[in-house]
Point group: none
């Protein structure tokens, strides 16, 4: 008696998730090339061969992880649709960024590592550039709204800060004072200046 389609679907989804989770952890910590299919299988608790029932190659696993990461990123950006106050948006973006870092440190680690070595994978380079430009556009727009003298450079600066914090957190882990940094960035960069002063 054959399994019902839903049963198969469940099995498939479960295995797929196990593979992606294992791969993410290994890719993030050891790098794509240094991670063997064997080790992914072992960590996922399945056999080597089964991986190829779900992904046609090691590279496709990485791409699937990227797709997931993208979806999360797009979800976050969609939250700001209704908001008008640029400072409010920046505050939210900052908080979301830190939230993402806390929850998905490994995505950050992997994305950053890959983006540093675009030769690792063909399309990756373009992909990263696109994401970067998209972000810059949004940030530059916000700075224009608040009358910044040099919105583009300001946008680059705040982006650099996010990247730098992300890098620090990825490298040091919980030794990095993520909360303090978040508070500071919100105070310094996401709050309208008081009466006089910058």
């Amino acid at each position: 008696m054959p399994r019902r389609p839903e049963q198969f679907e469940e099995l498939r989804e479960k295995s797929r998730e196990k593979i992606l989770a294992a791969a993410l952890e290994l890719f993030a910590n050891k790098g794509y090339n240094a991670t063997s299919i064997e080790s992914i299988a072992k960590k996922a608790g399945i056999s080597k061969g089964l991986i190829y029932n779900y992904f046609e190659s090691k590279e496709k696993i990485l791409l699937a992880i990227f797709d997931d990461a993208m979806k999360v990123g797009d979800d976050i950006l969609s939250h700001y649709k209704g908001l008008k106050d640029p400072y409010e948006i920046m505050r939210r973006m900052t908080m979301d960024t830190f939230e993402f870092l806390r929850k998905k440190k490994q995505y950050c680690q992997l994305l950053t590592a890959i983006s540093l070595q675009p030769h690792v994978m063909g399309d990756m380079g373009d992909f990263i550039d696109k994401a970067f430009e998209k972000n810059m556009k949004i940030m530059t727009g916000l700075y224009k709204q608040i009358g910044d003298k040099n919105p583009y450079v300001s946008a680059l600066l705040i982006s650099a800060i996010f990247d730098g914090v992300s890098l620090g957190y990825c490298m040091l882990g919980d030794n990095y004072p993520l909360n303090a940094m978040e508070k500071r960035i919100i105070e310094d960069y996401c709050t309208p200046p008081k009466k006089k002063g910058k």
Copy 2:
């Protein structure tokens, strides 16, 4: 007439440099694991076997590159010995950092990539942590001198900015407005606040 010993030494040194330069470029762009000894030899214009006359393994080449990078870093830090004004020091550090980025982008790329994936190489992790702490100590000291309310967080912030800029430049190359960023950072973070402000 046989070569004098110094000539031999010179030749050796030249070959060593060629190997290191080739390896740096390849490691930085393609990653350590994706770079073969063969490709290093080809780029260096020598034979595969000869590399093993200079380095006992692929890993030792990477370590040699790290050592070189460290020396450069230490050299830079030694420049500030005589200086007293913390703003002056910060300005110099900023300028030196940008200078290093411009001249040695590949070092930055490689160091960052490796530091993100500490499992790649055993010792690397410690090594990175040490360098980070050393830098933080200096920066925290400077912020204390200028009476910053939260010197540690301020030091982390400026470090994050440097890291973020470095990341951006490594990723985008000459599309990244390095000069504009340098100017901005010097203005905003390395200059004493005017009368009232910040």
Copy 3:
């Protein structure tokens, strides 16, 4: 109302046939080793697992195909039982051979390919030798009857012609002038010589 046993039997037989037909086509065109169980299942329109309800291994499928081919061959040979005139028999054999080629090209292709590489399967070699000898015996007998000076070599020659035609047809498909060849062979080799001249 449950199916009657014969109905089950029919279904079984139908699945078996589908599998054998799919396997024959794939084995013939791509070779035994290059054909996967998966691809046979797909072509037969059933699941991979089901194949193992009918055949205990991939090799057994090949053997079953061979058995079928043998049966066909034996059937054909049995037609000649009542005939006496050796030319008539040769004519019939020629026509049957061409008929078989037209209808069962894939059997020929597969049998020939396998027979060329006896190491592919243990028993295959013997099996082929037996079939060959059987054929030669019959042909040699016929040539003896018609008083050929060298019946064995004549039998080899006509066998070679059949094999060569088969090879050509398998390779070229419908570009091969099968009809013209049949006519020619019947004229030249299956017709008693006229008084004078070839």
Copy 4:
């Protein structure tokens, strides 16, 4: 002290030949797909890895074998350039064909097997067709010269005979009376008909 270029060349040539000889034997007897690189290495008395110093893939080994076979074939055809008498040419071609069979049985076996399963390798199909047509052109030409009523079919017939003999010899080996067949074919097909008689 490095080896001289000629020494390297010698080594390379020797290894290359060993690989090709081993591969030919295995491909011919077991088939391309059933032959592992490991087994080729073992038979050649070298390591698996070394094979990839000489051929970039298993398929390239097969192609190299084909190239060799082609050269031999072209060499043979070039012998007939000066000859005028069509019977003389046919006699020579027959003798050369049998000579080739005796000396290079494995080439024949491999070529025939591959040509039966063109899906094994992409280009192979075309390649075989070309060779076949070339041969047919020559043979048809000869039959036209001697005033044959149906030169194309006659050419196909003699080709079929050669193919059939080749097949028989490949399958039966030294049990196949190659000499007797050669004699017979020369008598029957390469000799001008006597006034009266067969």
